[in-house]
């Protein structure tokens, strides 16, 4: 009578929410790890060491890849179904509905901004750091120089010293920030973890979480840029 949870609307939203939650937790971890680089290259490289060619790092990467694929696949399925449900004729007059966030109506577009940034990011960091190491190479070309793939700090510093990279990353961060300001409270709401009392708090928490995560990433990128151009000392302290 009532169908499977995998095909039902609320069921799909549950998987959207859980996959989003895992991605948020991952971003939080990633941001903390980046902050280490602000304080010490050695500390950052030590963390990179843990996450290099180990079975657990590879397993975690595989899980993460699976979660991203699930999140994107569901996002596309949901959006296509929703467009169909809207019907073929658009309204002639449209007005802003009170209290509706811009991000909530543009999650797929924001998602694709996130995805584009992600591909770019994987190509020039993940590929050079983790993948190269997995393939057993001991050197990787960074600009004109050759660097060990285990020297993550050197690789990251090389790119963030250049303003076009900084700019691209900041745009990407902005996209993720918008995605998360809606995403974090929406993921709680989709799981039913919201109420009359918590509604406003949840939206506030959502903005705070998004700002802490993205703020951490942006801070790290900016500090690296300033250090790379001799404006801030390296090490900072």
């Amino acid at each position: 009578m009532s169908g499977s949870i995998f095909t039902s609307s609320i069921g799909k939203k549950m998987f959207m929410s859980i996959s989003g939650c895992i991605l948020v937790l991952f971003l939080t971890f990633h941001m903390c790890m980046n902050l280490a680089l602000v304080f010490s290259d050695a500390a950052y490289n030590a963390i990179c060491g843990f996450l290099g060619a180990n079975w657990y790092a590879v397993a975690a990467t595989a899980v993460l890849a699976l979660v991203i694929v699930l999140h994107i696949a569901l996002a596309i399925v949901l959006t296509l179904q929703n467009r169909k449900a809207r019907g073929s004729i658009r309204y002639r007059a449209n007005a802003h509905e009170n209290g509706v966030e811009w991000s909530s109506k543009n999650m797929l577009v924001l998602g694709f901004v996130v995805l584009l940034g992600l591909i770019f990011h994987l190509v020039h960091f993940w590929y050079k750091m983790m993948f190269t190491e997995l393939m057993g190479a001991h050197e990787v070309a960074i600009g004109a120089a050759m660097v060990a793939p285990t020297d993550g700090a050197a690789i990251v510093r090389y790119y963030f010293a250049q303003w076009p990279y900084l700019l691209l990353y900041l745009v990407w961060f902005a996209g993720i920030w918008f995605h998360l300001t809606h995403g974090v409270w929406s993921m709680m709401h989709s799981l039913g973890l919201n109420s009359k009392v918590w509604f406003k708090r949840m939206k506030c928490i959502s903005t705070i979480v998004a700002t802490i995560i993205i703020g951490g990433f942006a801070l790290c990128a900016i500090v690296l840029f300033l250090q790379g151009n001799g404006i801030l000392p390296n090490p900072l302290f």
């Binding site: 009532s2 609307s9 809207r86 004729i89 509706v100 109506k105 799981l191 039913g192 973890l193 919201n194």
Partner: protein, 247 residues
């Protein structure tokens, strides 16, 4: 005041529709929006033209028969007001007003501004009720209910099933409607008995009828003439997921 109206005209469900422009003169600011349409229809009948079909019944904001998307808002620009309770004092002389039917795949247009909202009835029949044995009516106060619960239940029960939520939602989702029905009964002991079955059956029916998936934009609650909030959607999600995991 004088108004220019752009109204969707469509002779029947199969025919292609289009917008027609009409001018109505000397409308009193005291008249209601539907009375203004009555005046237009009178005018059209005198001119030997087909009057504009629109839904209405009680004209006092309780039955949910009236609809209309007016200048981009379900039930017009005023918040928490049905079209039948909307008055012309909310408009200015010389205004252009765009009047469209609800647009949603599950609400096909029957004629002009009238849409078929049977889908909402079908969802209700799937579980939006409490089963009782026939016999004497039980005393309303026989079962004690906490005031907060009773109030939250009544807030949800204010839903008149007009369809503004699904018509507004960019996803064509009926979640606010289903949430209002599930939530109002989930808050009462009489409704809790069949709670799990109700949540599963109503959601399954909603999905089957081609409504979209809620993405928590909150556009529905902004346009709902009865001020139903999406907090009830959180409760529906909770009720549904609980019911699914228990069975």
């Amino acid at each position: 005041m004088n108004l220019t109206l752009e109204i969707w005209r469509q002779p029947n469900a199969k025919a292609e529709g289009k917008f027609e422009t009409y001018v109505v003169k000397d409308v009193s600011t005291e008249s209601s929006f539907l009375e203004m349409l009555d005046i237009l229809n009178n005018q059209l009948i005198h001119e030997g033209k087909e009057p504009v079909a629109f839904d209405h019944d009680c004209r006092e904001g309780i039955c949910g028969a009236c609809s209309l998307r007016i200048n981009g808002h379900a039930h017009g620009p005023e918040s928490e007001v049905t079209t039948c309770q909307l008055h012309m004092r909310n408009f200015k002389d010389g205004d252009k007003i765009v009047i469209e039917p609800w647009r949603s795949r599950a609400f096909p247009v029957i004629k002009d501004l009238v849409v078929d909202r049977t889908a909402y009835e079908t969802i209700l029949q799937a579980g939006g009720f409490v089963s009782v044995n026939t016999g004497g009516v039980p005393d309303a106060n026989a079962i004690p209910i906490a005031k907060d619960d009773a109030e939250e239940s009544m807030d949800a029960a204010a839903c008149i099933g007009c369809g503004a939520c699904a018509a507004t939602c960019k996803n064509g989702s009926a979640m606010l409607f289903v949430a209002a029905r599930v939530s109002s009964l989930a808050k009462l002991p009489q409704g809790q008995v069949e709670g799990a079955r109700r949540a599963k059956a109503m959601v399954a029916k909603m999905d089957e009828l081609g409504f979209g998936n809620c993405t928590n934009t909150g556009a529905c609650q902004a346009e709902c003439p009865k001020g139903i909030t999406i907090n009830h959607i959180a409760r529906l999600n909770r009720e549904y997921l609980k019911a699914k995991f228990r069975s």
